[in-house]
């Protein structure tokens, strides 16, 4: 078990399997809002579904409409369980808070991979990998 300290942006606690992207994600463009599948060609997660995962990626980009896309995914039950970012940006932060999705950033080390059981406890500012 590994405990990584981090910063809280959106509160809550969630657990699930990690899905790690070394490349940035834009909720307006990278993700299909109807299915939660990564549709951006050449993206390292192309074809993966983000629903129900602990989504980990470095930074975000794109239009502020992205906040509403994340909110829409959550209303349809297709949102990630929690989000870990190297550096959070306003679009995903606002979307996560609107949707009650735990979001943390600035982990002590940004050393992750996909498929690990991961707990995000935003209020205790902790990521736990088992």
């Amino acid at each position: 078990m590994r405990v990584i300290k981090c910063r809280k942006i959106s509160s809550g606690r969630a657990e699930g399997l990690s899905l790690f992207s070394p490349a940035p994600i834009s909720f307006f463009g990278t993700i299909d809002p109807e299915t939660s599948v990564v549709i951006e060609k050449n993206h390292p997660l192309y074809g993966e579904k983000i629903a129900g995962k602990i989504l980990i990626y470095p930074t975000g980009r794109g239009s502020t409409v992205g906040s509403y896309v994340l909110y829409g995914l959550s209303r349809r039950g297709l949102a990630p369980e929690a989000i870990i970012m190297r550096d959070a940006e306003p679009i995903v932060a606002v979307g996560a808070i609107m949707s009650d999705i735990p979001l943390v950033d600035k982990p002590e080390s940004f050393d992750f991979r996909s498929g690990l059981h991961t707990v995000v406890d935003a209020d205790r500012r902790e990521i736990i990998l088992t």
Binding site: R7, K8, I9, S10, S11, T64, V65, S67, Y68, V69, Y71, G72, R75, A88, E89, P90, I91, A93, V94, G95, A96, I97, M98, D105
Partner: protein, 401 residues
Amino acid sequence: MYLTNEQEAILRGEEGWARKKCLEIIVGLGEIYGADRLIPVASTQISGVSYKTLGEYGLQWVESLSPSRVAVPSTLNPAGMDLSLWSEMGVPEEFAYKQMRVIRAYEKLGIITLCSCTPYLAGMAPRFGEHVAWAESSAVCFVNSYLGARTNREGGPSALASAITGLTAYYGLHLEENRKSTVEVEVSASLVGLSDYSALGYCLGKMLPQDIPYLKGVSNFGVEEAKALSASAAASGNMALYHVEGVTPEAEKSNSYGLERHRVDDKDLKGAYEELSTLRSGRIDLVALGCPHTSLTELRAAAALLKGRKVSPTTKLWFFTSLPVKVLAERLGVVREIEGAGGKVYTDCCMIVAPLERMGFSSMAVNSAKAAVYAPTASKVDVVFTTFEKCITIALEGRLT
């Protein structure tokens, strides 16, 4: 971050779910930007109003905040249609139905349904040094630069959160030290009409997307010129503040001594017109003026040019403005003159957020670099960016020659 006892109580949900969520948004943004506290705002201006940009889930979010009410005077960005004349515009009925749901949802929150990108021309002008939370990028750039008010470039949801809480996080352009010029730009290009100021803004935003330029050599800089330059600089870059030597209120204390120097000349301006025009000749379906919303002065100038002439039957000439400006133009007979020549004056909307792609238009002439930047992707139309006078000529002849 320091929070007052009252703010802590709101975060515990003691004033209801909507105020809790909205304050969480403000605090979350403050965390990201390293704010040490929250400050009150005097007004907000909210984007995400056209159903075309807001979408079904954005609408559900706005509806979910009811019965909460806004804490400070708040207005809206343009909607996707004239709220009264949408049918005449040719807006599909099912779009109009959803658009009215959006307007009603905002109205329920106590928001003033002035749908305009230029609320500062319609009775909503912040004073010098006042902290506000505005979202429309052209209005943000205008009130920071020309009026000396203080706002960051808010997104729709964060401006709405500020409206409900009356607060924003204290960071970015709210802080004195972040409002100083970062580069100097010598403008040697000759600036004749409004579209030249629009082209200049486009060049600045593209050249210096993250900077606060100190402009030298810009004269005749009135409200319309500032409106045009602010809009395009904010569209081609992230520009939210500039200073104009001898004109804007914070220019003097933000001198450019020792800064990196740039230059914009006639060739740069000419390049902007060419780069932004996807059409060189041929039939034009729509001549659309009012990005940002036209002032009374612009409507009067158009009426004078149109006197005794007729718009081509194959082309539409539409002006977009705010409701208060149109009411005044009606009183002065300006709307009658424009309509007599075959033009139309619409309120509450614009050529970018209206669903043009579903209204049968494929080519458009504009005098706004901002409209030219967005039209090909947002509205799927080909575009020509040219002067105000040339736009009127195109409307009369029905084509670009």
